[in-house]
Amino acid sequence: MRRLPSSRTAFARGSRSALPRLGLPRPPDARPLDAPPLPLGLLERLIGLALARGADFADVYVERSVQTAVLLDEDKIRSAQAGRISGVGVRAICGAKVGYAWSDDLDDAALERAASTAAAIASSGAQVSSIRVSRVPVPEHYRVVPSLMDVDLPLKVDLLRRGNAAARAADPRVLQVSGAYLDVTRRIAVANSEGCYAEDTQDLCRLHFHVVARDRSGERRTGFYGGGGRVGMGHFETFRPEDVAREAVRQAVAMLGAVEAPAGPQTVVLAPGWAGILLHEAIGHGLEADFIRKGTSLYAGKLGERVASEHVTVIDDATMAGARGSVNVDDEGLPGQRKILIEKGILRSYLYDRLNARLLGERSSGSGRRQSFKHAPLPRMTNTFLAPGEEHPDDILRSVKRGLYCRNFGGGQVDISNGNFVFEVAEAYLIEKGRLTRPVRNATLIGVGPEVLRNVSLVGCDPAPDPGIGTCGKDGQSVPVGVGLPTVRIDQVTVGGTRVAAGRMV
């Protein structure tokens, strides 16, 4: 079932503290050539079957995933679970038409049935010369050794125990601590009718804690923090579970006694890091080529035009080492790229997958991603961030007489057509005379993408990636993404709150 096409970035929140250190990309080296997840001969046969009714392009996507999830609750490991899922998706494209079929039966007969089902999107019947695929080189922006699937469970469990103990000890007002460690080792292979065959192993992990604090009056506030990426267990030597859990406690406790959010237009300062979901919602989705081709995005037909203030340069970068949104190859077998989407306010590029690129006469930007073999690829973001400016973050804060400082965020959502987006603020403070004063609760930022980007008035020199926690949903498909932002001042943002703002906020 589909819902309103929209994006939701779940499992929010980041802060400038305890950010993972991202190293430089390793040079591509001779990775051991594992046996392909399915024999190349079989893939070639399936492509041939998918083309048999006259399709002009076909690809086969093979996925073998091993997942682990450990949950901690009430001082106990509540559950540990592990799963293995394998499957194959076959796609046939005929002009703008797509036939897609998947199977989690990997026997030849089931796969051939899937290929023939996908082929039926075309109806001419054609002579297909036999397809030969050969391996294409794959860059290496991450390689996790040992693979997360080979790490013993007690090591993963231990991360949760350590974080839990630290959170419980951090403050007497801590009422509940829950935590989760999740990982997946996903081995993919893509072969297509152009003769390309690419493989990748995509490890991904995440550790997070959720804290409820309660004060004497009975008021409850929550805090949430976590992170990870395409990284191994060594990541948690610097991104320590104790620090992660204490950050969740800090947020919950900081919001005790928060005042109601003032409602109406205000000057807003965003803290660096996770606030990048503002870009993700306000502009990123609107640049995805499917919305552009269909003319349903308000950014369609605006290449070369000014869509943001000159302080705004937005980059989508699939090549950041170990980052949550990075891909060595996308789910169509093309290398991940670094793309400048907006340069000093001018719209430079959209995000293309193969299908939409071809129909628009462009080349794919390596942005074709899918949740699993159960889905056809869509153009998606990877790691999307705002390039740094020159202002010192303290000067940005000092420039605001009255406003709202947004330090941590929940999720966001956008309506592609009218550009309306919302952005839930989990930790916010009033700014009075350039200084942070009281904590504020229940604030939501709402705006129209281009207007908000035009109102970006100051950009800090303190870029930060989020800690590796974002998941983006579109058309029922979730994919891991990264975001990032330096400190930013935006004027005249509508804040949804419960209290009528006292006086005008400038």
Binding site: P5, S6, R78, G83, G99, F291, K374, S417, T444
Partner: protein
């Protein structure tokens, strides 16, 4: 899919037996098989056809108060051996918790019949040509309804046929099958000034005959898009706010997160210490009914084999029940409400089934007619409902109400409040209960909420 439940049952029995042999004190296995197809169209032609069959099995094992869980999409001997070995290994690494375990026999559903209205052979027999024709008709009807419909984000239809089996080491063995079919249209209207607005309309049913005709869905979606053209912010103010059924249903779903027995036990719900209290006017009743005929989430038993039932959460304004699975019920010294939702790739979790706010007796139209000024909300953005604190703040689109009539369209505003207070100020419930999924509601009106805009 039909009638092959026996092989799912066999796989479940085999996995449970294997776990017992490996030393599990108790075990249960949940397996499912699905067949699904979907079609989208674009510019009077097919855009995408997807078809698939999937299957899998999840195995829970209990070993001296320790829980282990593993799942697989491979139902062959090898896959099942592997899943049992992995579940046992995970149980050995888990902490002891005396509340773990299978439900008591008395709680289990008797028999395993298909409930009325869960399965429709007409859906089993649907082909993609039917979905294609229905989608083209929605697209045609939407364009015919309003010339300002400039395109579509998506238009499509699909179906799902599923079969489920559950076997426990305590002797429960059950299977059922279900069907569903859905259609949706998301047209984009373009105004003279170039503004784009989407409309959204959908229907999803267990039985083909219950589905709205594609023409109605197309036309409704087009009207919803076109009426938003010219939408602007309004000034920040407190006004009466009306939620249309689709939006009211999302409010009810937000409330439901706070009656999750696990959240309540962990003192993480704003409704946690209010059981038995009056939380809303007496014309507010909220029900979770796992047996609702034709309901999309209707099933004879939950993910642990416990009989499903009708549970009143709020009865005539009083908070009457929380929702529990077996584990949380034991901890909280309550009884399972048959609310353990389960797919093969996860442990059972507390979820609502068919959740709804009961219809009132006031004609829905008079909820608007009675207002001098107000905001009629037709769609929302963001989650914005915090079950811990009750804080509620979401982006909203809709129509302004002046002198009892719909006036100009409104966007880029938020509606905020606290759900406890919002429940208290519900001042009317319409007679138009509508389901567009598993959660339903009629039109509801709040005496006054904060609308933040310019």
């Amino acid at each position: 899919v039909t009638g092959r439940g026996s092989d799912l049952l066999r796989a479940c029995r085999w996995a449970v037996e294997r776990a017992r042999r490996l030393g599990a004190a108790q075990a249960d296995a949940f397996a499912e098989r699905t067949r699904q197809a979907s079609v989208t169209v674009r510019n009077r032609e097919v855009e995408q056809i997807s078809q698939a069959t999937g299957k899998g099995l999840g195995l829970r094992v209990f070993l001296g108060g320790r829980l282990g869980f593993a799942y697989t999409s491979d139902l062959g001997k090898e896959g099942l051996c592997d899943v049992a070995a992995r579940a046992m290994a995970l149980a050995r690494a888990a902490a002891r918790d005396s509340h773990h375990g299978l439900p008591k026999e008395a709680e289990l559903a008797r028999g395993a019949r298909d409930l009325l209205g869960m399965y429709d052979p007409a859906i089993e027999a649907l082909d993609t040509q039917w979905m294609l024709d229905a989608s083209l008709e929605m697209e045609r009807a939407a364009r015919a309804e309003d010339p300002r419909v400039a395109g579509f984000e998506s238009v499509g239809a699909g179906d799902l046929v599923s079969e489920v089996a559950l076997v426990t080491s305590t002797g429960f063995s059950g299977t059922y099958r279900g069907t569903s079919v859905y259609m949706y249209a998301v047209p984009v209207a373009r105004g003279d000034d170039g503004q784009l607005q989407t409309g959204y309309w959908v229907d999803a049913r267990r039985r083909l005959a219950d589905l709205e005709p594609p023409e109605v869905i197309g036309r409704t979606a087009a009207r919803r898009a076109a009426r938003m053209l010219g939408a602007r912010k309004v000034k920040t103010k407190r006004v009466p706010v009306v939620f249309e059924p689709l939006v009211a249903a999302s409010f009810v779903a937000g409330l439901a997160a706070a009656v999750d027995g696990d959240m309540v036990y962990k003192k993480s719900s704003f409704l946690g210490d209010r059981l038995g209290d009056r939380v809303a006017p007496d014309f507010v009743t909220v029900v979770d009914d796992g047996l609702r005929p034709g309901g999309l989430s209707t099933a004879p038993f939950d993910g642990e084999g416990v009989a499903t039932r009708r549970t009143a959460i709020v009865e005539k304004g009083r908070l009457t029940s929380f929702l529990y699975d077996t584990y949380t019920a034991r901890k909280a010294k309550a009884c399972s409400t048959g609310s353990a939702r389960r797919g093969y790739a996860g442990l059972p979790e507390i979820r609502t089934s068919n959740l709804y706010l009961e219809a009132g007796s006031t004609p829905a139209a008079s909820l608007v007619r009675g207002l001098r000024e107000g905001f009629y909300v037709t769609s929302m953005l963001g989650r914005g409902a915090d079950p811990v604190t009750g804080d509620y703040s979401r982006g909203a689109n809709g129509l302004w109400i002046r002198a009892g009539e719909f006036a100009e369209p409104v966007q880029e505003v938020t509606v905020s409040g606290n759900m406890l207070e919002m429940l208290r100020v519900v001042d009317a419930v319409g007679d138009d209960l509508d389901f567009r999924g598993s959660t339903g509601a009629p039109t509801i009106r709040f005496a006054e909420l904060m609308v933040a805009g310019a």
